[in-house]
């Protein structure tokens, strides 16, 4: 069975690549001028553009990570997709139409145009890069996980594929092909997640519809063989006798029975353990062991500072989405401010279509794929379920469909970020021609996260994306919101706020990604700094602007008119 699934993965990858290449080639024939190259000549209709924006939202984090988080932590994680959709409502209300009317291609352009300061522009570019790099990390990680789980490929294979495709696609086709790729891939991802979901739900009914929310911690339905990739500490919830080949608790095992008492055990890398049917599944050390009622009830885990962490994560997502450089650049491809606003209004509709599926997969994963809780690969829930519930070719087919959607997710999000970063970076260099600088920007955009990838450890995709969102919430969001709605913002105020908020968030993000967890309040604030750092950024921006109120840019009044009046009112 593993062989069939391993065959399904390359086929799925080839399908995703073939689609991408076909759409990219179509766009490439059209992309003739530099304007085409960068902004698709602004001829993208609201629904098509909304599909592209939603396609970018369905990254590794939303596609794989959301289901994994819900499977691992339960109802507390249901807040995150809720906030992600709500964030697009705030984006619509506060940012889209004015930003489009500013005519700025990137957030850096907006900052320079609005505040007339190249220094602020450089700081904004730094913030954009940090957000993009944090956002690319989970895409690479998700690709590595997908290929490893399905085929046993080494960890560098997934990122290598994504980087290669992104480079070819972005460098050759520019934004037009990316818009087409993103929009089509949104629908590909919806189908890729929905078709297996319907099939698996039907299987669940045939299985007698067991209740995933009731009863004890997850159990293995059947005799289950689990292979542990690297040394791991696991929590065994109930006494069980297993057979193991490899190393358990430091002693070598050769396939004989091993009694495991409740509590913590160390399993060596490469060990294979066979669990009897009905055994309670061990959990990776960092994951909580929860019964069904705890799992399905918000705040029932009694997590330390649970409400604070939830609020901070929600605030980071709500505000961070407003400053995501690749999403904002999408709106630049709309014809006018009103079209950009319509685009943003349609996005929640499309995201709602997707939102039910991660929860469904998480609930089924609790019943049929509890070994993921032991290996800690909860991001692989979507990939593991079809094989576990439907052995044979049907399961392999569904696995292939899910994997194709997953690759579409990595590729589309990575391309979107690379376009945004390369566009932002290339505009810093004045000497080279536009397209050459853009290609140089692509290299910088991809090199940094690739270098960080080996250090990033075992963070889930969704954790890494919330880190990126937090940086954006604490730097770019205050700049955009105050720049759009408050005439009194000065360059000094913006720079101070960006450095204070963005610096705090980047530092906390690095500690979180590279370091471990800290205890107590320090750990809670470092883990989710948005509730502290975002108000700090707003306060510093407003405070310093008021102190330097004599230096409000002369263009502020006219800039505000241009931001808020429809284009045809100014052109008449």
């Amino acid at each position: 069975m593993t062989g069939v699934a391993a065959a399904a993965a390359p086929v799925a990858l080839l399908a995703a690549l073939g689609l991408t290449a076909a759409l990219g080639a179509r766009g490439r024939r059209r992309a003739r001028t530099a304007a085409d190259f960068l902004v698709a000549s602004r001829g993208v209709t609201p629904w098509w553009n909304a599909s592209a924006v939603s396609g970018e939202y369905l990254s590794a984090a939303a596609y794989l990570g959301a289901a994994g988080l819900v499977l691992a932590y339960g109802a507390d994680m249901l807040w995150l997709p809720v906030a992600a959709t709500a964030a697009y409502v705030l984006l619509l209300a506060f940012v889209t139409a004015p930003l489009r009317r500013s005519g700025a291609y990137t957030v850096s352009d907006f900052a320079e145009w609005r505040l007339g300061s190249r220094a602020v522009r450089r700081i904004v570019t730094g913030c954009v890069c940090c957000v993009g790099w944090f956002y690319l990390l989970p895409q690479f990680q998700g690709a590595a996980l997908t290929l490893r789980v399905l085929t046993g490929a080494p960890g560098w294979a997934g990122p290598a594929v994504v980087v290669a495709v992104a480079v070819v696609l972005v460098a050759s086709g520019g934004m037009r092909s990316i818009t087409a790729v993103q929009a089509v891939q949104f629908w590909v991802k919806i189908v890729a997640v929905a078709v297996p979901a319907v099939a698996l739900a039907a299987m669940w009914r045939l299985d007698g519809a067991p209740d995933p929310l009731d009863g004890a911690p997850p159990r293995f339905e059947h005799v289950t063989r689990v292979r542990v990739a690297a040394d791991a500490d696991v929590t065994v919830p109930a006494a069980v006798t297993v057979t193991a080949r490899g190393s358990v608790d430091g002693a070598p095992r050769d396939g004989g029975p091993v009694p495991l008492a409740p509590g913590r055990h160390r399993v060596g890398g490469g060990t294979e353990i066979v669990f009897p049917a009905g055994a309670a599944a061990p959990h990776a050390e960092r994951l909580p062991v929860q019964d069904g009622a705890t799992w399905s009830t918000p705040f029932a885990r009694g997590e330390e500072h649970g409400l604070f962490r939830t609020y901070s994560a929600l605030l980071g997502i709500l505000l961070g989405t407003m400053g995501l450089p690749h999403t904002l650049m999408r709106f630049y491809t709309s014809t006018c401010g009103a079209a950009a606003r319509r685009t943003a209004a349609f996005v929640p509709v499309l995201l709602t279509l997707f939102s039910v599926f991660p929860v469904l997969y998480a609930a089924l994963g609790r019943l049929y794929a509890p070994e993921l809780l032991m290996t800690g690969d909860t991001d692989a829930t979507l990939l593991a379920l079809p094989r576990s519930m439907l052995p044979g070719p049907a399961g392999a087919l569904l696995t292939g469909i899910v994997a194709a959607g997953a690759f579409a997710a990595f590729i589309s999000t990575s391309c979107g970020i690379v376009v945004a970063l390369a566009g932002t970076i290339s505009q810093c260099s004045r000497r080279r021609s536009g397209v050459t600088a853009f290609r140089g920007g692509i290299v910088v955009a991809l090199a940094v996260p690739l270098a960080l990838l080996p250090l990033a450890g075992t963070q889930g995709a969704a954790t890494l994306v919330t880190t990126a969102l937090c940086v954006s919430a604490c730097s770019l969001c205050p700049l955009l919101v105050l720049g759009i709605w408050w005439r009194g913002l000065t360059a000094a105020g913006a720079a101070a706020g960006l450095l204070a908020g963005g610096g705090t968030a980047v530092a906390a993000g690095l500690v979180r990604v590279l370091g471990g967890a800290w205890p107590g309040w320090a750990g809670a604030v470092l883990g989710e700094p948005a509730v502290v750092a975002a108000p700090l950024a707003f306060a510093v921006m407003v405070g310093v602007s008021l102190l330097t109120r004599g230096r409000v840019p002369r263009r502020a009044g006219r800039a505000m008119m241009r931001l808020h009046l429809p284009e045809d009112a100014l052109a008449r």
Partner: protein, 161 residues
């Protein structure tokens, strides 16, 4: 409007615009969604009084632009208040009243269902409401003489495309 007229309007508007702002202005993070009482806070602003001696003229001047900004900010803040009320209120409610969080209907945890599927339609409705309000405010600002008609924005947009 001729180029000279526009130049003259810009010239009269410039001193107002260039003066450093007397107050903090509209604070988007502030709790007040109305925006109506800010005209009092800003001494430069003459409230709803049109500075244009030629009122039926279709092009909005700086004062009308400011009025539009204030209206749009009010709409955006109201949308933001709805989002924040839901996103801040629900976690507090469920964390502080654990008994409520455990409620089940027919064996299904109520809040599980609400969080998984119940809130998304609220965002869709809020987004469409925000879109409608913002477009209406814009139409009213560009063409105060013409009675706002629902289809005009679509037609205008299609024409531009």
């Amino acid at each position: 409007m001729t180029g000279d007229q526009r130049a003259a309007r810009t010239a009269t508007a410039a001193p107002r615009e260039r003066r450093p702002s007397g107050g903090p202005g509209p604070d988007p993070s502030g709790p007040d969604p109305s925006g109506a009482d800010r005209s009092g806070a800003d001494p430069d602003d003459s409230g709803g009084e049109p500075p244009d001696p030629d009122p039926p003229h279709p092009v909005p001047g700086p004062a009308e632009a400011r009025a539009l900004i204030r209206v749009q900010l009010g709409i955006a803040l109201r949308t933001g208040a709805v989002v924040l009320a839901a996103v801040a209120g629900l976690p507090a409610l469920l964390a502080l009243v654990p008994a409520l969080a455990r409620v089940r209907a027919d064996g299904v945890p109520v809040w599980w269902t609400v969080l998984a599927a119940g809130l998304q339609p609220l965002w869709v409705v809020t987004a469409l409401w925000q879109l409608k309000r913002a477009e209406r405010a814009e139409r009213a600002a560009i063409a105060p003489a013409v009675a706002p008609s629902r289809g005009s924005a679509e037609r205008g947009e299609a024409g531009r495309r």
